[in-house]
Symmetry: C2
Subunit: 240 residues, 2 copies
DNA sequence: CGTCTCCTTGAACAGCGTCAATAGCCGTGG
DNA sequence: CCACGGCTATTGACGCTGTTCAAGGAGACG
């Protein structure tokens, strides 16, 4: 995938940049971003990128691969708070408050490639132009809106509705990054991840997924998902 | 309660100011706040203060009374996202992004008294000093952290845990406003509100509350709650 | 004293969890 | 090439947690 992690040209050839938080100013800001990038590194699956309660001075931009924010809870329980897809920033809260200490941890879900920046540098990038800081604000609000939606899902939707909502949220976010082709996209989540995100058990997730398949709403192979009936899935998401 | 809503001296006599988001600079900022206040008004129970999807130019500071953010969902379902207590700002997201359009509505839970400001004025107040803007940032992060906690509650705790968490969250927030006396505080929520906040039904909330009473963890009379065994309740909140 | 709102309680039920057994996939090593 | 172990998906039986529906009670207020 990444032939040479130290390649100077990585930023120019980054097909994500224009569709991320840098979007509105990427063509202008890119040299600046490139100059401030401290490292580009590969991390394997299942590694903790950010431990809970740490106050990291670095911030990562996910060049490829998936990760997730989660909380460990008593009794071996785990709640996944959100998934991070290519182009996302880890811990973007630290752009608002320095020395931010997250109430959750971040772990890689697949092998990931991370571009590392100093928090202070990334802040300067974000404040470089009014459009850029506006974009950060919008991202913060979008994130908050997603949290609200997830609370409503977990509180008041059944298993079908929650899982359909999750699939549609991921499809929407991936589409904005141009990572959806013909309603199909990379889908590296195990059923256990879906369970931990939706507050269900993997056994029950399995039952729901096979029903969504049987009713021709989705086509799910390992690591890849295709939405066959978008309207039907949206109906399940809304009514479930 | 409020004898004269137009009294000039309201801000000076406001016992909340020092413990709200204005906290760090209240003694200095208060004249400024007072000068910019557009109105002080009373609203009765059950009124929509902010409709979903509106983009209000006014922001309210709750002088007294409670309110809540919520989403209406298909099938008559409702999810309460958070409660607003005296001293809270409605819609503080609009301090980050102007023309903010909330993905939820806000309704009064008791009669409330609101101090009204223009969003732009309130922004200026918040940016008046570094301490003050820092306080806004901390408030935003605290709000986000609460949303994360609620997702974990709804996804991975049983009814006892969710309700205990809710009680403890409210106690903590009220205590910071000096509204807890001897572990007791105003508690205007109906069981239906608790149900809509915790993703349960009011029938089941009733059963859990009577158990919390029977086990001597709380004492709950209409509109007033006392925590009898804080450690015990925290244990239920954590393990449940 | 009647009405309204909210709390309380019971009985039947269902969605989802728990536990466990089986099966498929894949990389590894012999 | 095959055997093996590890991981994930699948499926079934069973039961608990919380829902649904409904009825009754208690306090507030005009």
């Amino acid at each position: 995938m990444i032939e040479n992690l130290n390649s100077d040209s990585a930023c120019e050839r980054c097909e994500l940049g224009a569709f991320t938080i840098y979007g509105p100013t990427y063509s202008v800001a890119m040299p600046n971003i490139k100059a401030r990038r401290l490292a580009i590194q590969r991390v394997e699956t299942g590694k903790i990128l950010i431990p809970e309660g740490s106050a990291p001075e670095k911030i990562y931009s996910i060049r490829s691969g998936w990760a997730f924010r989660y909380k460990e809870m008593p009794g071996g329980r785990r709640q996944i708070l959100s998934f991070l897809i290519p182009g996302d920033l880890t811990l973007f809260e630290s752009l608002i408050v320095s020395k931010f200490s997250p109430p959750y941890a971040v772990k890689s879900l697949t092998p990931v490639v991370l571009c590392t920046f100093a928090v202070g540098d990334m802040r300067q990038i974000m404040n470089a132009t009014p459009e850029q800081s506006r974009e950060l604000e919008v991202a913060v609000l979008g994130y908050i809106a997603n949290l609200h939606r997830r609370i409503a899902d977990l509180g008041r939707r059944n298993a079908h509705g929650r899982i359909a909502q999750l699939i549609l949220e991921l499809e929407g976010r991936l589409a904005r990054r141009r990572l959806v082709k013909n309603h199909a996209f990379e889908f590296p989540l195990r059923q256990e991840h879906i369970a931990d995100a939706t507050g269900l058990t993997s056994a029950h997730v399995n039952r729901v997924l096979s029903e969504l398949r049987k009713t021709q709403l989705i086509d799910l192979e390992p690591r890849r998902l295709r939405i066959l009936d978008h309207a039907g899935l949206a109906r399940v998401a809304e009514e479930g």
